[in-house]
């Protein structure tokens, strides 16, 4: 029994990337159930940052699901991304409260400053600009999430200096 478990766990991926083994453990915890697909994709994105084709194939094989089903689910939900993200991420909340308080202008400022629109990443892979439906911190609108950190009451100057700081930082490095 123990041996079987180990052999299944170490099966992993031909590339030998250890993250696949961790993903395998997560699938095993869900007993490779088809209805755990979303949980598995969450784990995969957490480990790899984004879902590339090879990774989706791997999941589809291990869960014994058609690739079309895995791809269909991965592209249906906004949370899953099939493209790599930049080193820094700037998520502007576009919920109603933030909209009323000028979230559009914040997006405009980023476009003006570093030339990217929502969903895009700068050419050097430095900064990604994203939008969120609602962060749920409406009391502090407008809200922006800089690298996972939620910051409220943002002004045009705030967001400009933040993204500018990142691009200058990456130039220096």
């Amino acid at each position: 029994m123990v041996n079987q478990q180990t052999s299944k766990q170490t099966a992993g991926h031909p590339s030998g990337d250890k993250r696949f083994k961790l993903l395998e453990v997560a699938m095993k915890r869900h007993q490779y159930r088809h209805d755990a697909l979303i949980e598995v994709l969450h784990k995969a994105q957490e480990l790899f940052g984004y879902l590339e084709d090879d990774l989706l194939y791997f999941v589809s094989k291990r869960l014994k699901l058609p690739p079309s089903r895995v791809y269909g689910v991965a592209t249906f939900y906004h949370f899953f991304t099939l493209k790599p993200k930049g080193r820094h991420s700037c998520v502007v909340c576009t919920g109603t409260a933030c909209f009323v308080k000028g979230a559009d202008e914040l997006l405009e400022c980023v476009r003006d400053e570093i030339g990217i629109s929502p969903g895009e990443t700068t050419g050097d892979g430095g900064v990604s600009l994203l939008t969120a439906r609602c962060i749920g911190a409406c009391g502090n609108a407008p809200v922006v999430v800089y690298d996972e950190e939620i910051v409220g009451h943002q002004t045009n100057e705030d967001i400009r200096s933040q993204v500018k700081g990142w691009t200058i930082g990456s130039d220096g490095a």
Binding site: E39, Y77, V100, K101, R133, C134, G136, G139, N140, V151
Partner: protein, 543 residues
């Protein structure tokens, strides 16, 4: 776990309580204003001043006044400090020794707090959401015990029915009736599902409850499980709510360890397991059939009803689906009785409702009032009106499925029926105040764009209709539309709402319809040359 052990925890909590408690809000709103650092500064300050034996610093859930965070309260009725920074946090500790507090205070007598009634939010901002003992000390899990040992499942359903509780997700379906339907449908298994996929932009009530008082929801779900004969529950939470997910998982673990969830709840024959399912950012998953598809690992596309989830839900079994706030009401109803609950609110809409008051209003935050409270009381007295003496133009309720209530209807009571009559809906509780600077056509376009993006694409009226309506609205905003476009828009609104498969499409035109009803002049004034446009439109109809 039995009743004596439960009471021992209550006694121990009371005995361990230090004379003074400093509470710092660490829910999402205040966290985004750096409250974690404030909390650690407070802790250090208490240690340094040698008061650790009599002062307890605790991180609590939402204290409601989200726009003025980070909030720090001294005891339940002591001063409430707002916009606390790491620089002035230690001065709050110094006040306990007679020092001068440097942080701003907010009067607890202010209408913002005085006009509210707390049932669901009673523990929010008072208890430590990460310790089950803290919830038990407030009488938590007593209702579950009472249901299991003193009531039959049918009594529980009967109590909920008599309380008049209606679904807090927005549609307002009588909760007791729903429970009874699920209970009478036969199936190998039954399921309880808590809808915590709070997708409306501008609404964060469920998030606050889950982050501040997770056990209340778990207890409500367990009672529901007992009533309808289910042994498995799911909470479907938005992926964006990382803190809520973390706290829920912690709460489920703690309750399991104490024997309050899992196999043999309170050592009775009743088993109840709760699993968290994390959503992946699709608004349509708030719709019940789509939500269930998502729990089963599929694309979140809705299916036609009937069959309703009550007879054919998860894996084809009878499934009870309720909102977070609905479940949160249950423990108190069981403990205090149906009559107690029915006395709050109006005869048709009993109890209280939590709203998220945001937008152009002085006090942004979480508000709980009895149903039937006039909108004006909420917006002008509790919310303090528009900042800098501005005028309220409209209040948007119900998110992308709701409508804009104009200034002249501010005296309407907030209950399911009254809001419906004036062209909006109660919705899940988002309430966004718009001042006279707000462009209503742009607001309508904003919501239409939202529905267009979120349409799952399964049915044509919603998939194609929202795109067309958004384009028409954009042209009106840009000033390049004519009267025929406006007529086309109105026809489309009617068609999409009548023919869409699920609630998303059926209600997508609502914001447009309600702004057209009350702010028609804003649309008409932008049409290009209305006389020629009129002629064109006549021509168009002859084709």
């Amino acid at each position: 776990m039995d009743l004596t052990e439960l009471e021992n925890i209550v006694t121990k909590e009371a005995a361990d309580r230090k004379p003074c408690e400093i509470r710092c809000c660490i829910a999402a709103g205040c966290l985004s204003a750096n409250s974690n650092d404030v909390l650690s500064t407070l802790r250090t300050a208490v240690e340094d001043s040698g008061m650790a034996d009599r002062v307890n610093v605790v991180g609590v859930g939402c204290m409601r006044l989200c726009s003025q965070g980070p909030l720090v309260g001294v005891d339940i009725d002591g001063p409430l400090y707002c916009r606390v920074t790491t620089d002035n946090a230690s001065s709050i500790v110094a006040t306990l020794n007679g020092g001068q507090g440097e942080a701003e205070t907010f009067e607890r007598e202010d209408p913002f707090f005085a006009k509210q009634t707390s049932l669901i939010l009673k523990n929010c901002g008072c208890i430590d959401p990460e310790r089950i003992e803290s919830y038990i000390a407030t009488g938590g899990y007593r209702a579950l015990h009472q249901a299991l040992f003193e009531l039959a499942p049918s009594d529980v359903i009967e109590t909920v029915t008599r309380s008049g509780l209606r679904g807090r997700g927005g549609a307002g379906y009588p909760t007791g009736v729903k429970w009874a339907t699920v209970a009478k449908n036969s199936g190998e298994r039954r399921f309880v599902v808590c809808n915590a996929d709070e997708g409306d932009p501008g609404a964060f009530m469920n998030r606050s409850v889950l982050e501040s008082d997770p056990h209340r929801v778990l207890e409500g779900m367990a009672i529901a499980g007992f009533a309808i004969g289910a042994n498995q529950g799911y909470i479907y939470v938005r992926g964006e709510y990382t803190l809520a997910i973390e706290r829920l998982n912690k709460a489920i673990k703690q309750a399991g360890r104490m024997g309050l969830l899992g196999t043999g709840v309170f050592s009775s024959p009743f088993d109840f397991r709760i699993d968290v399912r994390i959503g992946a950012g699709a608004f349509v998953c708030g719709e019940e059939t789509a939500l269930m598809a998502s729990i089963m690992g599929q694309r979140g596309t809705p299916t036609p009803r009937p069959p309703y989830p009550a007879e054919h839900g998860l894996w084809g079994m009878p499934t009870l689906l309720n909102n977070v706030e609905t479940f949160a009401n249950v423990p108190d109803i069981i403990r205090n009785g149906a009559e107690w609950f029915a006395e709050i609110g109006t005869p048709q809409s009993t109890g209280t409702k939590v709203f998220c008051l945001t937008g152009n209003v002085v006090h942004n935050g979480l508000v709980e009032v009895p149903l039937g409270t006039p909108l004006r009381t909420i917006v002008e007295e509790i919310g303090g009106g528009v900042p800098n003496g501005g005028q309220i133009k409209a209040v948007q309720t119900g998110g992308p499925s709701g409508g804009c209530i104009p200034q002249e209807h501010l005296d309407s009571p907030v209950d399911y029926e009254s809001l419906g009559k004036i062209g909006s809906i109660m919705g899940s509780g988002g309430m966004i105040v718009m001042d006279d600077q707000t462009d209503m056509v742009d607001v309508a376009r904003y919501f239409m764009e939202f529905c267009m993006d979120e349409s799952c694409g399964k049915c044509i009226p919603c998939r194609a209709g929202t795109v067309q309506m958004k384009q028409l609205l954009s042209r009106i905003v840009d000033g390049s539309a004519n009267r025929a476009d406006l007529e086309r828009l109105e026809k489309l609104c009617d068609m999409v709402s009548r023919t869409s498969l699920c609630g998303l499409g059926q209600t997508a035109p609502n914001p447009t319809v309600s702004t057209l009803r009350y702010f028609r002049d804003e649309y008409e004034s932008r049409l290009i040359d209305s006389t020629t446009a009129k002629a064109n439109s006549n021509g168009a109809t002859c084709q």
